[in-house]
């Protein structure tokens, strides 16, 4: 069922399922939509769709207006060789892995396991006519970080997290998704959780009653010098009732994959 954009203006929460449903575009009408720090402006005229984006200071829940945007925006245009009226947003995971750095040093004692809730900023995928993916945009522009050695690491986005063990103490912004992470230290040594790399390619996004969720991720540490084994569960997270799956993972989850997930990143400084 298509809903009009006027309906969206009343829905200010990502949890409202209408936010993620398609809506109809009228010819020669400007639209604006804000989520987090990302403000989207779009315009349709016959077979042409135009989009301009800007990052704002204030992070907001989805807000819609029909105001004509200010001059000076850089517009990008798409020509669609078929009749189109339907526009839809999908929440997607960032296009690179995330390096989660704990706000305070955290150690996991031998043969200890704990669940953490990590809040991750979303990306938005813009889809026309339910099949044309126009672009993907971050709701918050994150800086760049490097995970691994300077010789063969990977480029990632940094995220600072309190690594909260309860959902109530997790700071979840309106444009964030919660990643439930279970860390199991099977080794006989203390495990210092300094930086954790979350590979986002394997994560789907689910709409829960109060939050957006990713799959459960479990990390098994067999030894400090060994690569950690991580599993992405294909089951829906069990922390609250799940309404629906909003987006599939970019890649299918691989079970029991051993990867370098933790790093204390000791560089020689000179």
């Amino acid at each position: 069922m298509l809903i009009c954009i006027e309906d969206i203006s009343r829905n200010r929460s990502l949890m409202d399922k209408k936010v993620w449903q398609p809506f109809t575009l009228e010819d020669r009408q400007y639209y604006s939509w804000q989520i987090g720090n990302l403000q989207l402006h779009f315009y349709k005229e016959k077979d042409e769709f135009s989009l301009a984006t800007e990052q704002t200071e204030e992070a907001l829940s989805p807000v819609h207006t029909n105001n004509k945007p200010e001059e000076g925006l850089e517009w990008k245009r798409w020509i669609i060789c078929e009749h189109f009226r339907s526009l839809q947003f999908f929440p997607v995971m960032p296009d690179r892995p995330l390096v989660v750095k704990t706000e305070t040093p955290l150690s996991l004692l031998p043969r200890c396991h704990e669940s953490f809730f990590i809040s991750i900023p979303l990306w938005i995928q813009i889809v026309l006519n339910k099949k044309y993916i126009l672009t993907e945009l971050p709701t918050v522009v994150l800086s760049n970080t490097w995970f691994g050695s300077p010789f063969d690491g990977i480029l990632a986005y940094p995220v600072k997290s309190p690594a909260a063990t309860s959902l109530s103490s997790t700071d979840i912004k309106s444009n964030n998704v919660v990643c439930p992470l279970s860390v199991q230290n099977h080794s006989s040594e203390n495990f210092d959780f300094v930086r954790l790399c979350v590979y986002t390619d394997n994560l789907a996004i689910f709409q829960g009653a109060t939050h957006l969720w990713t799959n459960n991720v479990s990390v098994h540490i067999e030894g400090i010098q060994q690569a950690a084994r991580f599993d992405v569960s294909s089951a829906k997270p069990q922390y609250e009732s799940i309404v629906k799956t909003l987006s599939k993972p970019r890649q299918h989850p691989a079970k029991g994959l051993s990867k370098k997930i933790f790093s204390d990143l000791k560089f020689f400084k000179f």
Binding site: V99, S143, T145, W146, P150, F151, G153
Partner: protein
């Protein structure tokens, strides 16, 4: 009648031989080129661009040599004698072209040692460029102002060569000077903030900012930033502007050398002329 005379003409040994050679060339050359191309394509999926080019060239030149040997055999040359003669000629040519042989040997070392690959950016002396090809005699570079540079392999073996894009991330070292009156801790905090806000500067490895030394007219600070190799130009063009703008905003003085001009006599004051019209305009 004409067909009969054509058949008779074809029976002439020389004509038949020429026709056979033409057939070898017409079929052989395109076949070798085709083989070289498809093998190169297949190799491109599994190997680096450099190995792909080596395989392609190996098949092409090897095929042409085989084709030449076949043609010479067809012409009735005794290959054993020919190869013997070629050996003698080879020694003579070898003496005459020692530099070329040196380049070939150096080329083989470069290929086996792999100090760089095709599409790497290297610096040799004052020349920077993207490696276009690594051949037996020389390495071809394309500079950033779109010039073609040929560097003999022997030169590359003998001189210092820097591979700028070998590793995925790099560090940019900037030396900054601030006036002696400035609070050094505040300057370091401001530089940290500039680095954190620059989108091309990596969070980790974290920027390295430290007070280096007491300069002649400034406190020298090292400002070292890590970045992804592709972002070199973006970081360089933004960070200097950001430092200057922020220092101006914060009232931090960047000292620079002052020059005093004398008119010839050190004891005489410098003559200053006031233009009343100009002064009134201002």
């Amino acid at each position: 009648m004409e067909i009969q005379s054509l058949i008779n003409w074809l029976h002439y040994p020389v004509v038949a031989q020429v026709l056979r050679i033409l057939v070898i060339l017409v079929i052989g050359l395109p076949f070798i080129k085709f083989l070289s191309k498809i093998t190169g394509k297949a190799a491109g999926k599994r190997f680096t661009a450099q190995i792909q080019m080596l395989i392609q060239k190996g098949i092409l030149y090897g095929g042409i040599i085989l084709l030449l040997i076949t043609i010479l055999h067809e012409l009735g040359f005794n290959l054993t004698t020919l190869l013997g003669a070629a050996g003698i000629v080879g020694v003579a040519i070898g003496f005459a072209s020692q530099t070329s042989f040196s380049n070939i040997i150096s080329g083989l070392f470069l290929i086996s040692e792999k100090p760089f690959e095709i599409n790497d950016i290297i610096q040799v002396g004052n020349t920077f460029g993207v490696v276009m090809s690594i051949d037996l005699l020389s390495v071809k570079l394309k500079t950033f102002d779109n010039r073609f540079v040929r560097i003999p392999n022997e030169t590359l073996i003998k001189t210092e060569m820097i591979n700028i894009t070998r590793f995925p991330i790099r560090r940019m070292d900037i030396e900054l000077g601030v006036a002696y009156k400035e609070n050094i801790r505040r300057v370091i905090d401001i530089l940290k903030d500039i680095a954190n806000k620059n989108p091309y500067c990596l969070d980790e490895p974290e920027p390295l900012i430290f007070f280096d030394n007491f300069g002649d007219s400034a406190l020298n600070i090292q400002f070292r930033l890590w970045f992804v190799k592709e972002n070199f130009f973006d970081l360089r063009t933004t960070i200097f502007v950001e430092v200057k703008e922020r220092f101006d905003e914060e009232g931090i003085e960047i000292p620079f050398p002052h020059r005093t001009i004398y008119t010839g006599e050190a004891t005489q004051p410098f003559p200053v002329q006031i233009n009343p019209e100009k002064t009134n305009e201002e």
